[in-house]
């Protein structure tokens, strides 16, 4: 019963906090550029504004186009629901699995690309092709990270990996460090952040993710934006849960433990949001084809993490 309650709280927590995190990233960037910037609550207002607006759908759009935002949002939300944030004691924790996570996010991406192609505009196709290009390297990298983690922890369940890390079995492992590096790079690519994509650009020709959703408006766009914000928070939560799970509450934690878990998670995620803002202010966007080098690097790191494990075992 408590697990169900925590599950429900968690489910709304991720959606509820996602715009805030996006707001923090934007505010950080604005401040670093010497601008005053919008308040961290601005993304909530944007979503509310979009929800109230009429949705304009292109004449050439099929049912696919209308349905995709719901499917995408649900897939991302579901993925976020399974990922522990403040406690591992949730009804869906046993179902959580890193491979399932990759699959859910891939489903969301698949529908985004289809929706981009559906309207038949040049930009939708351009964005879809670029997104799939990015995904074709990012997904293997993500899976390799999963693989090397599961080799250490003997599980693909994030909660179990978190407990494993908390249990002090890990120590300072090279493989973990490499896997973390790879995961961060994948996260940057998957969320369309600089240097892979620029979420704030108005230049149609340079867009990746935005190009696919260019035709969306109103509540459809609100759902897609919310899905994007949730995905950002999800990736941060994944990194927190797998690599920095300290403070995470478990089944036997009392209310105090839960509160600690909540604030620890929130604190870590906020630090990451500020860090992302800082990173994005220091670097320009890459050429599209350099993305392969970047993600190839991520894949290589993840592979090295795996290889080191075997080498360590052999020695």
């Amino acid at each position: 019963m408590t697990a169900l309650l925590f599950g429900i709280i968690h489910t709304w927590l991720v959606v509820g906090f996602a715009p805030l995190i996006t707001g923090v990233v934007r505010l950080t960037k604005a401040r670093l550029q010497g601008r005053r910037g919008a308040t961290v609550l601005q993304p909530y207002r944007d979503l509310w504004r979009l929800l109230k607006k009429e949705s304009v759908v292109a004449d050439s759009a099929s049912w696919m186009f209308r349905l995709a935002p719901y499917g995408i949002f649900v897939a991302v939300w579901l993925a976020a629901t399974t990922m522990p944030t403040f406690t591992t004691y949730m009804i869906l924790t046993p179902a959580a699995d890193l491979i399932a996570l990759v699959a859910l996010l891939a489903t969301a991406r698949f529908f985004t690309a289809l929706a981009g192609l559906d309207v038949g505009t040049a930009f939708g196709g351009l964005g879809a092709s670029r997104e799939m290009f990015v995904a074709s390297i990012a997904e293997p990298a993500m899976l390799t990270v999963t693989f090397s983690l599961s080799l250490v922890a003997h599980t693909t369940s994030p909660a179990a990996i978190a407990n494993f890390v908390l249990g002090g079995h890990v120590g300072l492992q090279v493989s973990f460090g490499l896997a973390l590096g790879a995961l961060v790079m994948v996260a940057i690519a998957e969320n369309g952040r600089i240097p892979i994509d620029n979420p704030a650009t108005h230049l149609e020709l340079t867009m990746v993710h935005e190009a696919m959703v260019l035709e969306y408006s109103g509540r459809h766009l609100a759902l897609l934006e919310a899905a994007g914000m949730t995905r950002l928070l999800l990736y941060m939560s994944v990194i927190v849960c797998l690599f920095f799970p300290w403070g995470l509450a478990g089944p036997e934690s009392g209310p105090g433990g839960l509160l600690i878990g909540l604030f620890a998670w929130l604190g870590k995620v906020l630090v990451m949001a500020v860090g992302l803002g800082l990173f994005e202010s220091l670097i320009a966007k890459m050429r599209v084809f350099r993305v392969a080098d970047f993600l190839g690097g991520a894949l290589l790191l993840a592979l090295l993490a795996t290889i080191f494990l075997y080498v360590a075992e052999a020695v």
């Binding site: 960037k29 550029q33 040049a122 340079t206 202010s281 670097i283 320009a284 050429r287």
Partner: protein, 506 residues
């Protein structure tokens, strides 16, 4: 037959038209015109402008060997003239525009599609003076065909996602690589030339300052100088210096914005934010001491409308000092950021030969080793008394254009310092005599040289005015620059050119 001769020797063979200042204008017959084409093919004469007037066609040329300038005119009673497009490709769009506006047919022009006329005008050939001419251009426009396997087209614009001027870009791509870009402009056509006709000089001067808003000072100076040339007047000496002061402030402000915007197009927003802060300091200064942020209508025929007060001088001195310091830091950031350099170096290369063939001026030409600056050649006061370098680079890529702008900003700081130290006293303005005549001027805007040609009537009204924006010869090079690059690099290339839509759409 004819050997290689200078422009002046050639024009000496025509019938000189009196009252054209400061450079000569000669009337050619059709045979003379064909000889001109022949000479242009074998000589290094730069096409400065080509425009129609009734049944007449004028061409302005500069002999790069000695810097002499002249205008040749051809009367074409049957509304046909031999095209210059084969010897000077920069003439293609000008001739297409002449055909749309004046109904003069360029014989030998391969591309006879309309340019400015999008088939939406209520009357055809508006400047031809024909009553009741029925519009013929259709709204359909056929882009040049591109053939090849698995090519796809990307239409962009005329409405863009950002707040910029309208223009249509038709990309043909193989995957991400651009095979061909074709521009279609003319969306901001507002009939400047017919609006100019019949207006008193003072009114026309205001209009000239609004042809391309970001170069308002340069346009106003160009118009004022053309009017002064036509009437044989001279601006007050102090006014010349103040004009240069305004022009350099405008140049710095525009370059600052563009340098930042180029970085922003590579998703490095920091530089744009900081450049905007510097630019704002200039605009605020303009507002406070000259009464207009962009200095519109501060330059008038005969002189200038505002003075540089003693207080403004000392504020400006401090401002230049601060700007220099702030700009130096930003340049260091640009220079030290590998991720940004990676985007700009080697991107959008314009070959020097192409810049030369199109006669591109400004930083676009100078970044591709095609030198030339109207402040030096032909030169106009007070620049003859000032010391400044005109940077030229050979690389022709986005990085070269950024650096060229950086160096120009630094040169302009130096110019401003010299101007406030040595500016002479005296009147701001001298009345322009009411007199007829023809005048022409070349003024360096931040984009390159603006050509302004006016004919005034005896009562001091504009009969014909033709402004030629530097972008006419730069837009075609953008098509060449992007070829072989990837689509996603177009915004960078485009911003590094930053051609004027309004100025070229007339």
């Amino acid at each position: 037959m004819l050997g290689n001769m200078t422009l002046m020797e050639f024009l000496g063979g025509g019938r000189a038209v009196p009252g054209h200042r400061p450079w000569p204008r000669v009337q050619l017959d059709e045979r003379g015109w064909r000889e001109l084409l022949h000479q242009m093919a074998i000589s290094e004469w730069t096409l400065l402008g080509l425009w129609g007037e009734g049944k007449e066609i004028h061409v302005a040329l500069r002999d790069d060997a000695d810097g002499s300038i002249g205008v040749a005119s051809l009367h074409c009673p049957d509304r046909r003239f031999p095209s210059l497009s084969e010897v000077r490709p920069g003439a293609i769009r000008l001739e297409r525009a002449i055909r749309d506006l004046h109904g003069l047919i360029p014989e030998g022009l391969a591309d006879l599609r309309p340019w400015l006329d999008h088939g939406r005008w209520p009357l055809a050939v508006p400047l031809a003076g024909l009553r009741g001419a029925v519009p013929q251009a259709s709204p359909d426009y056929s882009f040049l065909p591109v053939e090849g396997e698995s090519l796809h087209q990307i239409p962009v614009g005329p409405v863009h996602a950002g707040v910029i001027e309208p223009g249509h870009f038709r990309f043909t791509c193989a995957g991400e690589t651009v095979v061909r870009l074709e521009e279609r402009l003319g969306y901001t056509h507002k009939g400047v030339e017919s609006l100019m006709a019949g207006r008193p000089v003072a009114e026309a001067a205001r209009l000239a300052g609004r042809i391309s808003g970001d170069s308002t000072v340069a346009y106003a100076i160009a118009f004022a100088r053309a009017v002064e040339a036509a009437t044989g007047a001279e601006a007050a000496p102090r006014a010349d210096w103040l004009r240069a002061l305004f022009a350099e402030l405008e140049r710095i402000a525009n370059h600052l914005l563009d340098i930042g915007a180029i970085a922003n197009d590579a998703a490095f927003g920091f530089l744009l934010a900081r450049c905007m802060v510097l630019r704002e300091q200039i605009l605020s200064f303009n507002e406070t001491y000259f009464g207009h942020r962009l200095l519109m209508d501060r330059v008038i025929p005969g002189g200038v409308a505002v003075d540089l007060t003693r207080e403004a001088t000392s504020v400006l001195r401090t401002l230049i000092h601060d700007l220099r310091k702030g700009f130096k830091k930003l340049v260091a950031i640009y220079d030290d950021l590998p991720s940004l350099q990676d985007r700009t170096v080697g991107t959008g290369i314009v070959h020097g030969s192409l810049a030369y063939r199109f006669g591109a001026g400004g930083f676009v030409g100078r970044a591709s080793s095609h030198g030339g600056d109207a402040r030096k050649v032909p030169g106009y006061p007070p620049y003859d008394d000032l010391e400044f370098a005109v940077p030229v680079r050979p690389d022709g890529d986005v990085n070269a254009r950024v650096w060229l702008r950086i160096e120009e900003v630094q040169a302009s700081f130096g110019l401003l310092e010299q101007i406030i130290e040595t500016i002479p006293g005296g009147h701001l303005h001298r009345p322009v005599p009411t007199r007829g005549g023809e005048g022409m001027s070349l003024v360096e805007s931040f984009r390159g040289e603006i050509l302004m040609w006016v004919r005034l009537s005896e009562v001091g009204k504009v009969v014909r005015c033709h402004p030629r924006d530097p972008s006419w010869f730069q837009w075609p090079l953008l098509e060449a620059a992007i070829e072989g690059n990837i689509v996603a690099d177009f915004p960078l290339c485009n911003k590094s050119f930053n051609c004027s839509y309004s100025g070229a759409d007339l």
